[in-house]
């Protein structure tokens, strides 16, 4: 029906206006700012970026912390959903698992800090139990160079998000596929790969992509739990953006644009391929 099509395009206007004027414009302006120098266009800022040792260290550090956090969150989240999906159908159970989503990331970071710092809760418990004699014997888990505290915070905070994303798949996942697989002689391990994995893979990829993009450039948690070196990328970019010298500002733009484009491109590839697969699966079911 033609009138309906007209009607519907009209409904997209608010979303498109938002997209063009906020994220779209922001990205374009950041991109322009990163190649502008005086009145000319140059990629010099990107060259400068690669000559900065701070950038490379911080890039690698962010990459490590982000990858570990993302993978652990996905695995633990999947484990919880797989083990407890019948229970998680009930609202009260869902709500218990989703408690960490109630508070901001920085609150969770503070919580991790007060539980795991050397005079924190667990250190105290260990001391009372007589396992350690002094608080300095408690391992340094927050504000240390390896980013353990940061990883801990993200994994803890994101596991509920992973369950939120995966639960709908598990509730709609038809049991019969698994039954057929086991009838045909597949063990539980094989049955998982054949009858479950193809359905959850697209959602896992999507969730992982969201987490990765979010953690890579998040500022709040590393600001509370990190150290001055190595820094997560967002901290470095923020420093450059607000540093007294104007010459550092283009570096902030260049670093963030570079990371943004990199992440964006990889995500697009991943989602493009999994979407194809997903279409295949949905069509397969309907036939």
């Amino acid at each position: 029906m033609k009138w309906q099509r007209v009607n519907n395009t009209f409904l997209l206007i608010p979303a498109l206006l938002f997209f063009i004027f906020i994220p779209g414009l922001g990205i374009v302006l950041a991109l322009l700012e990163s190649v502008r120098s005086g009145g000319t266009i140059t990629f010099g800022h990107y060259v400068d970026l690669f000559e900065e040792e701070r950038f490379m260290t911080s890039f690698l550090f962010s990459l490590t912390v982000t990858s570990i956090s993302t993978i652990l969150s996905l695995c633990i989240g999947l484990g919880i959903v797989k083990a407890f999906s019948p229970l998680l159908k009930e609202n009260k159970h869902k709500l218990i698992v989703w408690i960490p989503m109630l508070v901001p990331h920085f609150v969770w970071a503070y919580l991790v800090y007060s539980l795991f710092n050397q005079s924190g809760f667990y250190s105290n418990v260990f001391g009372m139990a007589g396992w350690i004699d002094d608080r300095s014997q408690f391992p340094t888990l927050v504000q240390e160079r390896k980013g353990i505290g940061i990883i801990l915070t993200y994994v803890w905070k994101e596991v509920p998000f992973v369950t939120l994303m995966l639960l709908p798949v598990y509730t709609t996942l038809s049991k019969s596929y698994k039954e057929i697989a086991s009838l045909l002689g597949a063990g539980p391990y094989k049955a998982f790969w054949v009858a479950e994995w193809p359905f959850i893979l697209p959602v896992l990829v999507e969730t992982g992509a969201i987490l990765f993009a979010f953690i890579f450039t998040a500022y709040e948690v590393p600001q509370l739990l990190g150290v001055t070196s190595p820094q997560m990328l967002a901290i470095l970019a923020y420093d450059w953006f607000y540093s007294g010298t104007w010459s550092d500002r283009p570096l902030a733009f260049a670093s963030l644009v570079l990371v943004g484009l990199g992440i964006g491109f990889v995500m697009w590839l991943l989602i493009y391929f999994t979407n194809k697969k997903r279409m295949h699966i949905t069509k397969g079911i309907r036939n």
Binding site: N8, F19, N124, R135, Y238, V259
Partner: protein, 265 residues
């Protein structure tokens, strides 16, 4: 057995941290090597309430969250409807574009918009902050309303159209009540995400827009642990309170909200 295991795991991972914060806000610091404090006190909460900036910051945060929520509902409902109920050429591209902010660093958007926002007087003002808070929230809202509309399906809407319902009647009597679960999730998520933004608020607000997260950060260095714990709990309480209030409003606004006896329709 499985249930027991579930309760143990979720208590340790999810319930205990919250209880720990509550405990800490009343009992204060547990000095290393000394016995567990057992004398509760409401000092931390009093300190918090008497801190002048705190109450103002709640006001600013709540106001921004509500503005962000309203725009989210508008964009979410309209585009969610298009994405689930109609198909046209290029739909998947538009959809992917609108999801893009989820997969890109928000920090890029914030620093990119910074100068433009200054030029148009949006920076250092709550409007700019609210606009930039839309970036991490809108994609989720669109997603949720899309699922909501998929759940409704086209049949009820077509039937109503055949019986002569106008677009508005259809929306009010059919879509809105059935969208309630989506509205609830969007409500909650948007408010929590908006409260969570520190760096976006700091850059665009330039220190002039004082939301709760802006007060929280300097506190982490100085204030005592009991106050920090109490402050942390406030971050969970605000979305819950707002949820209860807005749920009450929805009861009045939406039709068919008297579920007694009709619950299992």
């Amino acid at each position: 057995m499985r249930k027991l295991l579930f309760y143990i795991i979720s208590f340790l991972l999810f319930v205990f941290p919250l209880l720990f914060l509550v405990y800490k806000s009343f009992f204060g610091l547990w000095r290393w090597g000394s016995p567990v404090p057992v004398e509760p006190g409401i000092r931390a909460w009093q300190v918090l309430i008497n801190e002048g900036q705190f109450v103002d910051a709640i006001g600013a945060s709540v106001w921004i969250a509500i503005v962000v929520l309203s725009i989210n509902l508008l964009i979410g409902v309209t585009s969610g409807r298009v994405f689930s109920l109609s198909s046209y050429r290029g739909k998947s591209i538009v959809e992917a574009l609108l999801m893009l902010p989820l997969f890109l660093p928000v920090l890029v958007v914030a620093i990119g918009l910074h100068i433009t926002f200054i030029r148009y007087g949006l920076a250092d003002h709550w409007t700019g902050v609210a606009l930039v808070h839309l970036v991490p929230t809108i994609p989720y809202s669109i997603k949720m309303f899309k699922t909501g509309y998929e759940r409704i399906g086209t049949k009820l809407i077509e039937q109503s159209a055949m019986l002569g319902g106008s677009a508005f009647q259809r929306f009010y009597h059919i879509e809105l009540p059935l969208l309630l679960p989506s509205i609830r999730s969007v409500l909650f998520l948007t408010i929590v995400i908006s409260l969570s933004q520190y760096v976006l608020t700091a850059i665009i607000g330039g220190g002039n827009v004082v939301t709760l997260s802006m007060v929280y950060y300097p506190f982490t260095d100085t204030a005592d642990e009991a106050v920090m714990a109490a402050f942390s709990i406030v971050f969970a309480l605000i979305p819950i309170m707002l949820y209860i209030i807005l749920e009450g409003c929805l009861k009045f606004l939406l039709p068919y909200q008297h579920p007694r006896g009709r619950k299992n329709l």
